[in-house]
Amino acid sequence: PKVLADTVPSSFGYGRNATQAEIDRLDIDVRPDGKGLPKGEGISAKGKVIFEEKCVACHGAGGIGGPNGSLVTNKTPTDKRREKTIGNYWPYATTVFDYVRRAMPFNEPGSLSNEEVYHLTAYLLNANGIIDEKDVINAQTLPKVEMPAKNLFVPDDRKGGAEIR
């Protein structure tokens, strides 16, 4: 009997088209350039109130020293190894919004409104000494916030081979 060969198709046609509405429902990420930030805005003072209600038990008073890690850089460090925080380790401010909205509070993830997340972001940036108390955080201002840790990171230079990196 002869041997034949089927060709591999350029498209299989499985799956269905994604509508813009269903993409929008899932597309909650925020990029450093601000793409993905929703409408709304926040200020530190309001963020502080929310933080004290919903976050302080796990992250400590003023965001320092809670059982689940500090979020705010301790200005009077003890001699133990300095904790990595938003103030000294996060390269982009947009990540604060993105992460808090998707994952916090740990025991009630996804429960915060966009407005609440803006307030909390403003609070955490202010508590870390990055923005002023009065600064309004929104889709325009957040990507412009310059983070202290912006230039801390370098791309991976390991590449296999004999050299140890």
Partner: protein, 389 residues
């Protein structure tokens, strides 16, 4: 545990209940349990993972061969294991693509499939500092399965990834809605959307109903419970690739997007808290590299002065745990035994000291150094903690 009394479909078979202490007396004189729908594990087998709040470590010292039993695969998650109804869970691919598409689990299974045996290791997989550590505690955040799924490149073709797409965001459907940015290049190379593990659907702890699997890369990039891929021209700098999964190197700098798992090996037998006897000992362990195949494992039984080539057990697969074995005659002397692997790029597993010389000694992710076991005169085996900072 009392022997279960089982009857056949036809009600023929009669197994009398026996008093507890008679159970194991003579199995040749007692009809056994008839064939069932699901196999069991002997009650005498007590191997478990070691959980913490955030992870659970595989008992490497209990393993045989290269397959990790699926229910002993290590766990690492950032908001627990979600319960996902596969009928309500879909994968959306959008962003810089010609045709955004949604795939159900059934859709994914229709595409050409691929299987490969490969490890997943968490890049934070190193503990040291004290003598009474088991392999599970030192580096139990690595496991290996046969993963089956659809190549991401197949889906890339299906949605038509645009030429300017250089990264994609992978997002999980767990309570952390876990995200990582991955270079599109990896997706064209060898990423898989995996829906099966060791012959069965992926376990909930490993991402049921499907996960991203990036062979050879730090485990966190292989996003579980995958729900969305967004193609982009920039990485997203998510929390997991900035605040976490970055590590200190010299001059106050930190490495970001450090994906490859450096080659590593560990002797799993003998190891703490085992005790050895004089005579022939088969030293056994696992070796792997995120950069390709293992080409050589060397073992030293004299604290690193001399090294001998260990045997590698087939199959030796790309980006996969390989078993090594080395016969050693122990005459009762106090010594240290160590292993080091070399991969196909020519990288040889360094000492902790060499790693510190190269990176500074702040520790962090991607610490895959040589680890040594001390053999005491009485046969006790202890981990050798190395001092730093």
């Amino acid at each position: 545990a009392a022997v279960a009394i089982v009857q056949t479909a036809k009600g023929q078979t009669i197994q009398k209940a026996v008093p507890e202490n008679a159970i194991y007396e003579d199995p040749t004189k007692k009809l056994g349990t008839l064939a069932g729908e699901i196999g069991t594990r002997s009650p005498f087998v007590k191997s478990v993972k070691k959980p913490s709040d955030i992870s659970s470590r595989s008992p490497l010292q209990d393993f045989y061969g290269i397959i990790t039993p699926s229910d002993l695969h290590f766990e690492r998650h950032h908001a627990g294991v979600p319960v996902i109804n596969p009928n309500k869970h879909e994968l959306v691919i959008h962003g810089l693509v010609e045709k955004p598409l949604v795939f159900t689990l059934a859709d994914l299974k229709r595409f050409p499939s691929v299987s490969r045996i490969a490890f997943i290791e968490c890049s934070g997989n190193f503990r040291g500092g004290k003598e009474n550590l088991t392999p599970q505690e030192i580096c139990g955040l690595t496991s290996q399965s046969e993963w089956t799924g659809v190549k991401l490149s197949t889906l890339f073709r299906e949605v038509g990834v645009k030429p300017n797409a250089s990264w994609f965001l992978a997002e999980g459907g767990d309570a952390a809605v876990m995200t990582r940015s991955i270079p599109v290049k990896k997706g064209w190379e060898d990423s898989i959307i995996a829906y099966a593990q060791n012959g069965e659907p992926i376990r909930p702890e490993q991402g049921y109903p499907f996960r991203l699997f990036n062979p050879g890369w730090e485990g966190n990039t292989s996003v579980k419970w995958l729900r969305r891929l967004e193609l982009s021209d920039t990485p997203y700098y998510t929390r997991e690739e900035t605040s976490k999964y970055t590590e200190p190197i010299k001059d106050g700098k930190f490495r970001i997007f450090s994906f490859d798992i450096d080659a590593r090996s560990i002797i799993t037998f003998p190891s703490f808290p085992q005790q050895v006897e004089k005579g022939w000992i088969e030293i056994r362990g696992l070796a792997w590299s995120g950069r390709g195949k293992v080409v050589k494992v060397e073992v030293s039984t004299d604290a690193g002065k001399n090294w001998q080539i260990a045997q590698l057990n087939d199959p030796i697969l790309d980006k996969a745990h390989v078993q090594f074995r080395h016969l050693w005659q122990w005459k009762g002397e106090e010594t240290e035994i160590l292993s080091r692997v070399t991969d196909e790029t020519g990288y040889t597993q360094p000492t902790l000291k060499q790693l510190f010389e190269a990176r500074g000694n702040d520790g962090g992710y991607h610490m895959n150094p040589i680890t040594a076991w001390q053999i005491k005169k009485d046969g006790k085996v202890l981990f050798k903690p190395e001092t730093f900072k």
